[in-house]
């Protein structure tokens, strides 16, 4: 029966096409698994090698020529101070720029140029920012190889991230909110500071945290500006016993940061230092994971709770 045979052929054809669906679904899961397994292997490898090394002394000791006594005190203090400087510059600048582009910018070529720049800067390799900082901040402006130079470099590096996050957060605010505020006689700035910025703050925060998580792990630009890999002293304390109680001497101090400390230990041949590198890497991964996780959680909450 020709008809039945034809039907069988069609069924076979459909079945073979459906088989491709299954094959691809399996390939997709497999590809995803490669990513997941790599991450698990990386995390487990560091945890197994590094966790036994993590004790109180590891966090409070200066780096040392003897692996057993070396610690990450200068590294984490340096990282904290650099992050502080970065946030101080990147957050106001990024939010202001995002606010301008979304709420104020007229449609003209100047705005176009700014937008193209923000997009392109996000794709510039981080080491190029290091070269910019070396030529400009370290030598031209004379900031030296200091926490200030490093903080400014990383601030420029994460600026596009903060700007893009700010713009996305602002864009999701319905137009009616603005119109309502204007209708009550508010000026543009009053609308921005009383409505736009507060309502987009969670979205901005997500972007800032993701940017900071990226900055804390950046190694190349900081090495390029000439951060030292072996620092056995702390920067001057930002808090003083005598008035005016705060000091900004630490801004010009030489420093090291966590990823550079880890790089230094990784490039040494002795196995004992590699254990230190694993421990420092574990701390670093935990920090970035915690920050990224927090950002993902805030965004998740945001999507759940805010319905315009």
């Amino acid at each position: 029966m020709a008809y039945a045979k034809n039907l069988e052929e069609i069924r076979a054809l459909v079945a073979s096409h459906k088989r491709w669906d299954l094959v691809f679904a399996c390939v997709g899961v497999l590809a995803l698994m490669i990513g997941v397994l790599t991450f698990v292997a990386l995390f487990a490898d560091m945890a197994i090698k590094g966790v036994p090394r993590l004790d109180w002394d590891f966090f409070t000791n200066f780096p040392s020529r003897r692996a057993g006594q070396a610690g990450i005190l200068t590294a984490w203090v340096g990282s904290c101070l650099v992050m502080l400087t970065t946030a101080f510059f990147a957050v106001p600048l990024g939010v202001a720029a995002g606010l301008y582009l979304e709420e104020y910018a007229p449609k003209n070529w100047v705005t176009d140029i700014i937008e193209i720049n923000v997009t392109n800067l996000a794709g510039v390799p981080s080491i190029v920012y290091g070269l910019l900082a070396l030529g400009l901040f370290v030598y031209q402006f004379g900031f030296g190889q200091s926490i200030l130079s490093a903080g400014l470099t990383l601030a420029l590096l994460i600026l596009p991230v903060v700007i893009v996050a700010t713009r996305e957060a602002i864009r999701s605010i319905p137009q009616g909110i603005r119109e309502g505020a204007y209708a009550l006689g508010a000026t543009q700035w009053q609308v921005c500071k009383d409505h736009i910025v507060p309502y987009s703050s969670a979205g901005i925060l997500t972007g800032v945290i993701i940017g900071m998580a990226r900055a804390i792990g950046e190694t190349a630009p900081i090495i390029t500006i000439g951060a030292l890999t072996f620092i056995a002293f702390l920067p001057p304390s930002p808090v003083k016993a005598a008035p005016p109680f705060v000091s900004f001497e630490w801004l010009t101090s030489p420093f090291t940061v966590m990823p550079i400390q880890m790089f230094n230990w990784t490039s040494r041949p002795e196995a004992a230092f590699l254990v230190n590198a694993a421990a420092a890497g574990f701390v670093l991964v935990l920090m970035t994971l915690a920050m990224n996780g927090l950002a993902i959680y805030i965004r998740y909450r945001l999507r759940k709770t805010i319905k315009w």
Binding site: D21, F24, Y100, T219, N292
Partner: protein
């Protein structure tokens, strides 16, 4: 403030016309000033670009007064810090190209497959878990990936191929590829999800399977977005530094063999920056010439990407 209804305006004494005009003028002035400040903040990105170009070009011009452009492009040796100095950028470029190809040959297929899977095949729950996880994978510091490549992946590869040297492009390239997967997959997936549902429904209505719909309808429709994802992946690979500095060794050699150690442009910059080179020396200038080459390379890809996107842009 008179403009804000509420307690403040009720308790304020009524103003005569002149005072109100003055107040309004002050308010307009303040609004203008604030707009100006915000505009300056937005201009920082323009100044950053200008700064990058200025620094790279300025030092590179000094460099090219010592070394001719012809030597720079054709010399087959890179020994800028030796007495017998050679400045053949080809040597560093070969390392950059080999490692990038290695990384992209992993990141592009896997990233695309993951994007198609998450966008078209995966159930909602899988996607909700997998997306943040991939994001975390992209957030791991590159120095940690470098450590992983040197001390975990290389020993495994040596187990399969014992002659592999401790520093090699292969393991650095593989790890770099895995690092880039999230960048490729997340942007590609966003592009595919932006394809209107009606296109898929039309395809299903014609009797196409999921796989046929994904590869023949969704991917072509989203191609301009997928191309941007690839371009971003390429930029990441070309500009990646620490994985290569740690795991690929820092010996400049003109090779396209991934089983050998090599230096890339980025690794060279790190190597020079680690040693304390005096400001203004020729060695100091080489890193800016190398950086300029890197910049031109990424610029080239971005321009190519721009035209690719334009060519394949689909409007709905």
């Amino acid at each position: 403030m008179a403009a804000v209804p509420g307690l403040a305006s009720n308790t304020m004494p009524p103003l005569d016309a002149g005072a109100r005009l003055k107040q309004r003028r002050a308010r307009v002035l303040r609004e203008r000033a604030i707009e100006g400040v915000l505009f300056l903040a937005a201009l920082v990105s323009v100044f950053t670009t200008i700064g990058i170009v200025y620094v790279l070009v300025k030092e590179s011009v000094l460099f090219f007064t010592h070394v001719s452009l012809w030597d720079f492009l054709t010399d087959t040796q890179w020994t800028p810090l030796f007495d017998d100095a050679h400045f053949g950028i080809m040597v560093l470029l070969s390392g950059t190209i080999t490692s990038s190809l290695m990384a992209l040959s992993i990141a592009i297929p896997l990233g695309t497959i993951i994007a198609i899977y998450l966008s078209e095949f995966a159930p909602f729950s899988v996607r909700e878990v997998a997306k943040p996880f991939l994001e975390l994978l992209g957030g791991v510091p590159t120095i940690v990936y470098g450590y992983f490549a040197l001390l975990f992946v290389t020993p495994i590869l040596q187990w399969f191929y014992p002659a592999l040297p401790g520093f090699n492009i292969l393991s650095a390239g593989i790890v770099m590829g895995i690092m880039i997967i999230p960048y490729v997959s997340s942007i590609s997936e966003d592009a595919m999800r932006a394809v209107p549902m009606a296109l898929r429904e039309g395809s299903y209505a014609m009797g196409a399977t999921r796989f046929q719909t994904a590869t023949r309808v969704v991917v072509p429709a989203a191609f301009s977005g997928i191309a941007s994802a690839y371009i971003l992946g390429i930029s990441r690979a070309v500009g990646e530094t620490m994985i290569l500095a740690v795991a690929a060794g820092m010996q400049p050699s003109l090779t396209f063999n991934p089983l050998e150690p090599a230096a890339t442009i980025t690794a060279y910059i790190v190597q020079v920056a680690l040693g304390d080179l005096p400001h203004g020396s020729i060695g100091y200038q080489t890193i800016f010439a190398a950086g300029l080459t890197l910049m031109l390379f990424t610029l080239l890809f971005n321009v190519a990407g721009h035209f690719l996107r334009k060519r394949y842009r689909e409007a709905y």
